[in-house]
């Protein structure tokens, strides 16, 4: 009996295996072909490198010839996605170009990696979004973005945008991108209820801010919520403090190689941070908390923390989260710009952040570029702008303040309009290697495991190395 079942099993198994041998045979044939072709492909690539060096933009990724414009972005959800889809609808309805847009949203986390892989294989999409700054400049230097000044002229859209936004879309004096979405600047959201309860008014100087923090501490309230796991969150404190202490000049000089990150305003920023950490202004364990998982927001929502220094894109999240929960939390929230440093003459209207958050670059030429740019103009059409404003996004277009009724957004746009200059986020402005040195060092400054001087020296060393390799 036992023997028989065994035999049957063996038989069945061998039938199965014969089947899979057939499948496997087919498979190996395929893959061996693949090997041949892949070698060829790599040879092609090697040979093609010289071609693309001459006119890399001509070699657009999509199957050229057909009238499809591929558009990569990170709008996978909510208002972001709707904004792009809305613009595509308008383009398909109105455009005479005959092109269609293939919208390819992918998740944010590894978007840059995906772009690098596509570009290195000569498969760059026709249009793609970036966050401007260092990476955008790399794409431009490598020939994956086209200057757009003529098209801006042709479609007459230059006046539509805020000046600061176009400035961030420019490189070497030419405009290379179309600013799309949100004005995203660093500022402090605060809980009006908690401020009133503790008798604190909106601080205008750092010493007032510190006094407010001390009052909160005395009342058992965490002054600032912060989740510094991803590092860029803590970097905002550093950037704001440095800008208020020394203005924009020290940073711009250091970034250009004419100055140094060891300037006193950077030392001041690091020292203030450590002073605040020592006084307990931040929640316990903040240095490893995750921003994306909402660990910083949690303290703000539960009203355990009074203030939240972060990017202004969070307005939308606060609003929808509060609406979803069906409570009045959002009505307690307001916003103020980072206060001035008492004894500094630096212009306190300067903001840190970005005037567009997302910038569309173009990797196509001639007719296709024209059509693609036409599509991009719909990203700032009246209809799209109205939608964005209703979704608590602040598009970087002139006159947007008249459309905004939301009080929090109003505070933000007022500050943006008053700003004499906007400093792009360090981690986007600087070369990525230098940016990482800054982020790593600053996290250690927050963790009190590195002195401000050490961190700045490390950052300057990375900058020096970068400049010498350029």
């Amino acid at each position: 009996m036992k023997k028989r079942t065994k035999r049957i099993m063996a038989l069945g198994l061998s039938v199965l295996m014969c089947f899979s041998v057939a499948a496997c045979g087919g498979g190996t044939e395929d893959t061996s072909q693949g090997g041949g072709e892949s070698n060829q492909a790599s040879a092609d690539n090697g040979g093609g490198a010289a071609d693309t060096a001459e006119a890399p933009a001509a070699d657009s990724g999509s199957d050229s010839g057909d009238k499809v414009i591929t558009f990569w972005n990170v709008g996978t959800e909510g208002a972001d996605k709707e904004t792009y889809e809305m613009a595509i609808r308008q383009f398909q309805e109105n455009s005479q170009s005959g092109y269609t847009i293939e919208n390819i949203p992918t998740q944010n986390d590894k978007y840059k990696e995906k772009l690098v892989i596509a570009m290195s294989s000569g498969e760059c999409p026709d249009m793609y979004t970036t966050w401007s700054g260092g990476p955008m400049n790399e794409y431009i230097d490598s020939g994956y973005a086209q200057p757009l000044d003529d098209l801006y002229e042709k479609y007459g859209v230059k006046e539509r945008f805020m000046e600061g936004a176009l400035e961030q879309a420019s490189y070497n004096g030419k405009i290379y991108a179309v600013p799309v979405k949100n004005i995203s600047i660093a500022g402090i959201y605060y809980n009006k209820d908690l401020f009133a309860k503790c008798g604190v008014s909106v601080p205008t100087t750092v010493s007032e801010l510190e006094a407010a923090c001390d009052t909160f501490l005395a009342n058992g309230i965490i002054p600032f919520t912060l989740a510094n796991g991803p590092k860029w969150t803590g970097s905002m404190y550093f950037q704001c403090l440095a800008a208020r202490k020394g203005g924009l000049e020290p940073f711009q000089k250091a970034a250009a190689g004419d100055g140094s990150f060891e300037d006193e305003c950077f030392v001041y920023a690091g020292e203030k941070i450590q002073e605040w950490v020592n006084k307990g202004y931040f929640p316990e364990g903040f240095n490893s908390m995750s921003e994306d998982d909402g660990q910083a927001k949690a303290f703000f929502y539960t009203e355990e923390a009074a203030m939240y220094l972060t990017g202004s894109w969070n307005t939308a999240a606060f609003k929808t989260d509060s609406e979803d929960a069906g409570n009045d939390f959002y009505s307690k929230v307001d916003w103020f710009s980072f206060p001035a440093v008492d004894d500094s003459s630096a212009d306190a209207s300067i903001l840190c952040g970005t005037m567009g958050d997302q910038f569309v670059s173009f990797n196509c030429t001639d007719e296709k570029l024209d059509a693609a740019f036409e599509f991009a103009t719909y990203l700032s059409s009246d209809e799209t702008i109205d939608y964005m404003v209703s979704a608590s996004l602040i598009p970087p277009v002139a006159g947007v303040e008249d459309k905004i009724t939301d009080p929090v957004s109003k505070s933000i746009i007022d500050a943006a309009n008053k700003a004499s200059a906007v400093q792009l986020w360090y981690d986007q402005y600087l070369n990525p290697t230098v940016a990482n040195a800054h982020l790593d060092g600053n996290q250690e400054v927050f963790g009190l495991t590195m002195t401000p001087e050490e961190a700045n020296t490390k950052m300057q060393a990375a900058q020096t190395e970068y400049l010498s390799g350029k």
């Binding site: 099993m9 063996a10 492909a41 790599s42 990696e113 990017g311 969070n314 989260d321």
Partner: protein, 283 residues
């Protein structure tokens, strides 16, 4: 004598009790995070942030699941199943083919070839992304579910060959020798003797590789772009907005992703045990 016996009974009872105690601790450690995952998948975003992750949900809120299932989850699921089955079939068969000569034959290059395959375990996958992407493009299978099968198989092979080779070395040699005397050639021997005997090893591999392929992210992300060709791990990320991560929603996706694997394991482990006992050589 009696005393001695009792003592040993007592001793074994004590050791059993402590073993069971440890087992309970291990069970808690293994299951608690899973329970939190399921709990949080029922919460609203605001609820999770204000009440904390470790509080039980206020009510069984199924909206997250409804939204996930409405968002193309079924399609992702089907793709994942397809990729998993095909990849596994190739991995198991090819690695069994390779392990057999490495474990049982004597030929000059044996040690060297084995070392080469083992060395392939040392490849960090991210460095292969660009060449594999280019290859996929030139084979014209970019953005199809076929694209993921090659890399899935290739990266599962070295470790599978390694495990199977050491497993096959453990199969007693006498069986083979007697079959050889009966005039059975190496190919027939492989199908009739070795494969059935290697079943416990193969089922371990099926589980290990199955889980890895099911959760594979990097290649799926790089090699596909349209939603209709994506697999489940990408679904997780499709629910992540740019700035606001809707964590309970992600937990719902993850729960739905893990659930079939758990069911499959409960179902399959019975078969697995049978496979193992069938493989054990008796007399």
């Amino acid at each position: 004598m009696e005393k001695e016996y009792k003592k040993s009974i007592n001793k074994s009872r004590i050791s059993w009790v402590s073993a069971i105690l440890l087992a309970v601790i291990a069970t808690m450690a293994a299951v608690l995070p899973f329970i939190f995952m399921v709990f949080n998948s029922f919460k609203g975003k605001f609820e999770m942030l204000t009440k904390g992750v470790f509080a039980p949900p206020e009510k069984l809120n199924l909206t997250n699941y409804e939204e996930v299932l409405a968002g193309g989850f079924v399609k992702y699921f089907g793709n994942s199943v397809f990729v998993l089955c095909l990849s596994l079939l190739f991995v198991l068969f090819i690695s069994a083919c390779a392990a057999y000569p490495l474990a049982r034959f004597q030929f000059r290059m044996n040690g060297f070839l084995y070392a080469v395959i083992v060395a392939c375990m040392a490849i960090p996958i991210h460095i292969t992304l660009i060449p594999v992407f280019q290859m996929t493009k030139s084979l014209k299978i970019y953005d199809t579910i076929w694209a993921m099968i090659g890399p899935n198989v290739a990266f599962a092979l070295p470790i599978s060959v390694f495990i199977l080779t050491s497993f096959m070395m453990g199969i007693p040699r006498e069986i083979e020798e007697s079959a050889e005397i009966d005039g059975c050639n190496k190919y027939r021997m492989f199908f009739t003797m070795i494969l059935p005997l290697a079943k416990p090893g193969l089922s371990t591999l099926a589980i290990y590789n199955g889980v890895n392929i099911w959760n594979e992210f990097s290649f799926a992300y790089t090699l596909t772009q349209s939603p209709k060709n994506r697999t489940l791990p990408l679904a997780v990320w499709d629910f992540q907005g740019q700035y606001s991560m809707n964590t309970p929603m992600i937990m719902a996706v993850l729960t739905l992703t893990v659930l079939p694997m758990i069911l499959l394991f409960i179902f399959a482990q019975d078969k697995l045990v049978k496979g193992m006992t069938a493989g054990a050589v008796k007399g």
